[in-house]
């Protein structure tokens, strides 16, 4: 091949559709206080959460994912994609993956469809996965949905976790484009540390628990989190990951118009922002209205901020997440023009 032949540029993944969807049922702090030893002020000052949305009995993660996915496709002005990725910690079933049924219900049967599991970092991992499918030419357009129904794995009488988590789904459509156009996602930093897998778990339901034998206990069937250790890891890992992504891109902290972190706990978000020397006002937070929605939290926060015109085209965003695994990740993008999704 002649040495002066230029290879076609590797396509970048460009965000071209966005939507969020939460189930209608709202659970306020006061409602939780009726069954748990807590009160509204305690929850608000500890977590920044005022209310959360909860799926109805019989409503599965795929139902939320389909609702968000449909709106995201409408936002992108398309009814076809080459791949559907669902990132979730609460799949409809251990087998099969949730993405194929979501794809079919969206009229996308035939598209590649699979789940990505990285707990609350799932959306950033999913973005990187989608970007890889597009860069490799496997897909020209990808629907990525972060969806979780933590109400199905959190013990309703577990005060520590029941106050934090909510159900929801957020979705984006990514298309092949150029790395220098608004909406192009890039400069990923992804990481993990399995030595701390015990910090965030559902012990039962997988091959590990089955291998040890015996019927799972009530606690083993539910979500568990070692709060103090998770808090320390979340703050330090998120700040470090954000710094790595910024450094890769040659951005300074001051270049970031909006920091959009996984909505874990308002205190964690502020701590990371302080660590990065980012004014807290640049931290996009909707945790007060939806709680921690796992893999859905970043796209839900984005959809909320865009709907309120807090995020506008041309502004620069830093997305950073942390979750069980442990996993963490960050990426950067300049916000594109998007059509309203409703």
């Amino acid at each position: 091949m002649p040495s002066n032949t230029l290879s076609p540029p590797v396509p970048a993944a460009v965000l071209c559709g966005l939507a969020g969807w939460v189930p209608p049922r709202v659970v306020t702090n006061d409602e939780l206080a009726e069954r748990l030893d807590t009160d509204d002020a305690w929850i608000r000052t500890r977590t920044g959460i005022r209310r959360r949305h909860v799926a109805e009995p019989g409503q599965a993660t795929s139902d939320l994912a389909v609702a968000a996915g449909r709106l995201a496709l409408r936002s992108a002005g398309t009814d076809s994609v080459d791949a559907v990725i669902v990132t979730t910690t609460t799949p409809d079933r251990p087998c099969p993956a949730t993405a194929p049924v979501v794809a079919t219900r969206l009229g996308l049967a035939g598209a590649a469809a699979f789940d990505v599991g990285a707990v609350c970092t799932g959306f950033v991992y999913g973005l990187a996965t989608a970007a890889g499918l597009i860069a490799s030419g496997v897909a020209r357009r990808v629907l990525l949905i972060g969806a979780d129904t933590y109400s199905t794995i959190v013990d309703p009488l577990d005060r520590t976790n029941a106050i934090i988590f909510g159900d929801g789904a957020g979705a984006v459509v990514l298309r092949a484009g150029h790395a220098d156009e608004p909406g192009a996602v890039g400069h990923f930093d992804l990481g993990s540390d399995g030595a701390h897998e015990e910090l965030i778990t559902v012990a039962a339901g997988g091959s590990r628990q089955r291998a040890t034998g015996g019927e799972p206990t009530h606690a083993e069937r539910h979500f568990a989190m070692r709060g103090k250790e998770v808090y320390r890891h979340a703050v330090t890992r998120m700040a470090a990951s954000a710094r790595t992504a910024l450094s890769e891109a040659g951005w300074k902290t001051d270049d970031v118009d909006h920091f959009v972190p996984h909505q874990a706990n308002l205190r964690i978000l502020h701590s990371v922002a302080d660590d990065l020397d980012l004014p807290r006002e640049r931290c996009v937070a909707n945790i007060d209205a939806v709680g921690n929605t796992g893999a859905a939290s970043i796209p839900l926060a984005l959809a909320d901020a865009v709907a309120r015109q807090r995020i506008r085209a041309g502004e620069r965003l830093l997305l950073t997440a942390f979750g069980g695994g442990l996993t963490w990740g960050s990426c950067l993008l300049t916000w594109p023009e998007l059509a309203p999704h409703l």
């Binding site: 320390r232 703050v235 205190r267």
Partner: protein, 79 residues
Amino acid sequence: MTTYEQIADIIAKLHDLPAGLTRPEATLGELDIDSLTTVEISIRIARDLGVTVGDDELQPDLTLGGMADLVDSRRTTTV
């Protein structure tokens, strides 16, 4: 800035407490500082003051003055 003033600064930032509520003899329990906040204080002491204090050392009966003494003792021993 004294170590106590640095500690008071960290606490005030966390809880958005009026400055008057932080005083050297105030205990963490009186300031309604919970276990996650002790982790946050521990992180900020390391980040801002360069001293390692474990969150398990920040018990409810510890005063802010006592915390400043703890930080100072670590500074002495680590120099």
